[in-house]
């Protein structure tokens, strides 16, 4: 018996020893290490990030930046698990949807004191500052770009269907979609019925209602109003009349963009960052970008999103972290970053930069210049918004598209949830 025990026990120990030896050696001695996490990862973007970070390290000898790149499809769960276990970075890339969660739970450092002393703060646009201060009117994030929805359209399919110009109103949009759907195997609109489709429901609902107020003065949601319901019904009818592909009821971001560049559907509403992927796969003369179609009141409400950089309160190198953000996000760094990322600039007068005077961005700047296109921030600062957008909206909108519930019923459920969330938010504000 004495013989077998050591033998049985040796094996696991030997195996463990074997690859503690195999593990890569610990990082070389650096005076300070900053941890940076990026979440909207793609290989080309990481290269640009490494370039900017390299500049920072040259300016600050003795400082090493450790970059962790999370795959976007699982970034939220992964980062939430790490953060809840205390494994927090110094600087993190923060999408707008995450702001209310991390800022609301007091995990982010307020950037106001840094902004107050920064030379570039005065050059930030009004909208960028508004985005930064979405939670508690305090800047918890420094945006690096704004994502404005516009309508991509397939010029080749338009030519095939004999359509001369992209639609400017919802009425024209419907007509165009009908003409394209008459072509065999093609559809007019790339509907996003799966996760992330909330933007379209909001845009068309607001356009029908002629305003983008989400809440009335008494704090109840406007979704239950007849005009917003008309917007929902408009989109549901579009799907049920087969003006969008049959399986688009389940389409997420990848499927929608793939549907567009494969020529399956002719129009898709998307942000400027999709431009890069589409431009890689379609010839420049085959696609164009135009403003979101206007509703009966003559106005449209394209949604506005953003992503930026934040500092965690738990960081022990906050000032150094701010220096890193400066390198990433000052006018020069921001331009270089957006060349790769494709978001709209946060600095005033940036349209004059060669990157943006490119004809590809013309569509967005035209949209921004049009007074009847009113960029609208979605209420991402509401508590529980992520669940609303990713779960409740997906389920109920799919039920509505498939005819299992009526548009009224869907809007009623949305209004109920949002009113509750709004009340919770107001109560929280009262207690502070």
């Amino acid at each position: 018996m004495a013989k077998c025990l050591p033998r049985l026990a040796c094996l696991p120990f030997a195996v463990c020893l074997l690859f503690t030896a195999c593990l890569p050696p610990a990082a070389a001695n650096a005076d300070t290490t900053l941890k940076l996490v990026e979440v909207l990862t793609s290989p080309e973007r990481t290269d640009t990030l490494k370039g900017l970070v390299g500049d920072f390290e040259k300016q600050n000898p003795g400082v090493h930046v450790e970059i962790t790149s999370l795959a976007w499809s699982s970034a939220f769960e992964k980062f939430a698990t790490m953060a809840s276990a205390g494994d927090t970075p110094d600087v993190v890339e923060l999408p707008d949807r995450w702001l209310s969660l991390y800022a609301g739970n007091g995990m982010l450092q307020s950037l106001e004191p840094y902004l107050a002393h920064w030379s570039e703060t005065s050059r930030l646009t009004e909208r960028a500052l508004q985005a930064a201060r979405a939670v508690d009117a305090t800047a918890y994030v420094l945006p690096y770009g704004l994502y404005l929805r516009a309508m991509f359209y397939n010029k080749a399919l338009f030519r095939q269907a004999g359509i001369a110009a992209p639609p400017a109103t919802m009425v024209e949009f419907l007509k165009v979609a009908q003409k394209i759907s008459a072509l065999p195997g093609k559809s007019g609109y790339c509907l996003r019925g799966g996760p992330g489709g909330l933007n379209a429901w909001i845009m068309f609902g607001a356009a029908m209602a002629g305003n983008n107020a989400f809440f009335k003065s008494d704090g109840s949601s406007t979704f239950a109003d007849a005009d917003w319901i008309k917007g929902t019904a408009w989109l549901v009818n579009l799907y049920q009349d087969r003006l969008a592909p049959q399986d688009s009821v389940n389409w997420g971001f990848n499927e929608v963009v793939a549907g567009f560049y494969s020529g399956t559907c002719a129009m898709v509403d998307q942000d400027p960052d999709a431009l890069i992927a589409i431009a890689q796969r379609m010839k420049a003369e085959d696609f164009g970008v135009t403003s979101i179609p206007k509703g009966p009141a003559g106005k449209a409400y394209p949604t506005l999103g953003y992503a930026g950089w934040s500092i965690f309160k738990s960081s022990t190198h906050k000032d150094l972290a701010w220096k890193l953000i400066q390198v990433l996000d000052d006018p020069r760094g921001n331009l270089r970053w957006n060349e790769r990322v494709g978001a709209l600039p946060i600095y005033q007068g940036a349209e004059k930069a060669p990157l943006y005077s490119d004809s590809r961005f013309k569509g967005w700047f035209a949209e921004l210049a049009d007074n009847d296109e009113v960029p609208t921030f979605m209420p991402t600062d509401l508590p529980g918004f992520a669940y609303f957008a990713d779960s409740l909206v997906v389920r109920t909108s799919q039920q509505a598209l498939l005819g299992q519930i009526s548009p009224e019923e869907m809007n009623r459920q949305w209004a109920g949830y949002l009113t509750k969330a709004r009340n919770k938010q107001l109560e929280r504000a009262r207690h502070e």
Binding site: M1, P24, P43, N254, V257, T264, D273, I276, R281
Partner: protein, 279 residues
């Protein structure tokens, strides 16, 4: 006449069914291969064709040269191999114990092993991360091997138990009467008879560890400690799913597994000689 007809009809049926299984198993893999050889611009236009009009090896060269896949494969090999070895050792011991002995707490131990399989892994990940992080076992291959071993031991133990159950106790009892210790009897008499079971457990654990994603993703954030399924996820970026490179990586990953199965299959198909059991 009749027996002969039956035999050849039998054989034809046999081969026909095998053919059907082969077709079912291989068709999706063939499709993956086809997509990996299709250039990006033809991916959607010619999607439904059984073979693209123009093939390219560009995806394979990208994966081998420009991505970090060689390192991911190496990590996966280390993790899967170590896990399979560790599990087979621990599970054979435990399976033997369950099969041959009656002891207090046996039911509880088996019950606990079963229960450990019943809880969704999603709920275990967060507490596990919190447990392993201070021990330095996150972002490490060692931590991953330990976790995989813990997860696979219950099934492997119960599987080995069922194999040991099929071997009558008199065999090692005979050897022990002749003067050997139980462990010696186990090693020289019983173990060779359970070689198919050992091979089955080993190959099962190897491939399970090879293709596991959730723990590899959640417990590791550094690329130095990432395995190949995690590497595959990197092809799904916010803007596109790079199917060409992803399927190329998937096809490449099948090669080591093929090699592994090739080595193992001899043991899986070994039959018992008639005499050993009768005695």
């Amino acid at each position: 006449m009749r027996p002969r007809l039956n035999r050849s009809a039998h054989a034809t049926l046999h081969y026909a069914l095998i053919g059907l299984y082969l077709a079912f198993a291989l068709f999706p893999l063939y499709w993956m291969l086809k997509v990996s050889l299709t250039p990006d611009d033809l991916l959607y236009g010619e999607g439904v064709r059984l073979w693209p009009s123009r093939i390219t090896l560009q995806h394979y060269t990208s994966v081998i040269e420009h991505s970090q896949f060689p390192q991911f494969f190496r990590n996966s090999l280390i993790v899967s191999g170590s896990t399979a070895l560790l599990v087979t050792a621990l599970a054979s011991a435990a399976g033997y114990g369950f099969s041959r002995f009656r002891f207090r707490g046996k039911l509880i131990i088996v019950g606990l092993m079963l229960v450990s399989q019943m809880f969704p892994l999603v709920m275990i990940v967060a507490p596990m991360f919190r447990l392993l992080s201070p021990l330095g076992l996150t972002n490490s291959l060692t931590g991953l091997v330990l976790v995989y071993t813990a997860f696979n031991v219950p099934f492997a133990s119960l599987l080995m138990q069922s194999f040991f159950d099929a071997i009558p106790k008199d065999l090692e009892e005979a050897a022990m009467i002749d003067g050997a210790t139980r462990f010696q009897a186990l090693r020289s008499v019983i173990a060779p008879l359970t070689l198919p079971g050992l091979a089955a457990a080993f190959s099962f654990v190897f491939t399970a560890a090879w293709s596991e994603l959730l723990f590899a993703l959640m417990l590791n954030s550094s690329t130095a400690a990432s395995t190949f399924p995690v590497g595959l996820l990197a092809f799904v970026s916010k803007f596109s799913v790079d199917f060409g490179q992803m399927t190329a990586a998937g096809v490449l990953a099948l090669l080591p597994v093929c090699g592994f199965f090739f080595l193992i299959q001899r043991h899986l198909l070994q039959g018992l000689t008639a005499g050993a059991v009768k005695g």
